[in-house]
Subunit: 274 residues, 2 copies
């Protein structure tokens, strides 16, 4: 089976940076998974004894703690600081940006609108930096139910789709006298998405490698699905099924921003072997 990789795929700058930071802190504890990729989390545990703990209560005093790429709520950071000084902040700088914007804009009296998934750790973190209660919307419909103030500031979860973000912005611009729009969508996501779209147009089957709870991986899947009928989202090579490739000529492969190369390589080699 012939395989073609997307022009841009896999690890983004923030994830690479977080892994490098974690590798330098053997025996460290990450508060929640460092990135959305179980295999890489396991590798860090096996090779560097970097372990995950979701519960601040359980973090020992003076422990070596690493903050995950998605960031953590301001209150959690405060609690953590009361326990230990050994904190390594692996929050992606692209996530720190909307956190700071929300802190600044809410202090200036703007109503904060966050385009994102309220249950996502990144959004939970960003929300915590608002002085007043932010409006978190997953789509235009939920925004339509909300009561808007005259001056709003809009940020986005870094992995969201720009066109949906613009829909939200347009609704706000039409109704508010001032709308401060901060485009906090990450370029890496854009680049991976554009590459997935282009690849999906020319292949017979697409394989998207990434965590099934990873927002940006799901988007790569959805975009690919628009242009290629047969798309499969897998976490690693073991989920591959040779039947998917029967009577196909060319298979496209892309991967979410949290997927390490060693996982992608195994997938590519397995498909090539069919």
């Amino acid at each position: 089976m012939e395989v073609k990789l997307a022009k841009n795929y896999g690890f983004c700058f923030g994830v690479k940076r977080a892994i490098e930071l974690a590798e330098k802190k053997p025996n460290g504890i990450t508060l929640g998974p460092l990135i959305h990729n179980d295999k890489e989390i396991n590798r860090l545990k096996e090779k560097f004894n970097v372990v995950v703990n979701e519960n601040i209560q359980e973090i020992p005093k003076k422990a070596e703690v690493i903050i995950r790429t998605h960031g953590i709520p301001k209150q959690d950071l405060q609690k953590l600081k009361e326990k230990t000084n050994n904190i390594t902040d692996a929050t992606c700088p692209y996530v720190t940006k909307p956190q700071k914007i929300c802190e600044d804009m809410s202090a200036k009296g703007y109503q904060i609108v966050i385009f994102g998934d309220m249950k996502h750790p990144e959004v939970k973190g960003v929300m915590s930096y608002c002085d007043n209660e932010p409006l978190v919307v997953e789509d235009l419909e939920s925004l339509k139910k909300a009561k808007l103030r005259d001056k709003v500031a809009l940020v986005s979860q870094t992995t969201k789709n720009i066109n949906l973000f613009l829909e939200i912005a347009n609704y706000l611009i039409s109704r508010c006298s001032e709308c401060r729009v901060f485009n906090t969508i990450c370029n890496a996501t854009f680049d991976n998405q554009d590459s997935a779209r282009n690849l999906a147009k020319e292949v017979d089957v697409m394989v998207i490698v990434g965590g099934k709870n990873s927002s940006n991986t799901k988007q790569l899947y959805n975009i690919s699905k628009e242009y290629c009928k047969d798309c499969y989202l897998i976490e690693d090579f073991s989920e591959l099924d040779s039947k998917w490739f029967l009577e196909k000529q060319l298979c496209g492969v892309t991967a979410g921003a949290s997927t390490p190369n060693w996982i992608i390589d195994k997938v590519v080699n397995t498909i090539k072997s069919y």
Copy 2:
């Protein structure tokens, strides 16, 4: 001929206010036409001896001067103040708003983008309040040629179309890290536009009354034309042609924001007489 008036039409708040101010200043001089309507300008001249002068050099010292609804450039205001203390500011408050925004935002280092017609007196006035040179764009195409900075502030000429404004905003949001969007489009324009659209859908012929150099009147014409094949833009009843109404059942009438009721009444009565 049966006539139906648009739900909202004619004079807006700013124009009504300017005329009331001018009527209280008999023998006053307006720097350029007070509003975009020659007939009303003539009425003010005949009834109140309020005259128009485009040239600041010619304004006598200590003259009673009235500033037009569209505002004037900051530099002209300064020159005027050196000549006289008797200045009545009839600038529409909705125009003063983008002037202040441009002054404030350019002082804060934002690149100013003005969606509007560079030759329109309102836009000339707004432009003059920018510390740094603003980008004035009439459409998305002209924006595409421009060099953008990272932080931009966007305002609109008050009479522009919201959808075109959103196109401009979307382009900026996708490319800049912060885009401060000030929706300075006037509601009166919206209301008159919505009413024209609704009326155009149900009539056989539409007559739009207003100055031929009035931006908002031209927009009413363009919107009506989308829904009604036979549309006519006239300045007053004398331009009406009975042939337009042959074999038509219902005529819709609307009017630009600078058109006084006495002009509209004559138009309506003439059409009814056919």
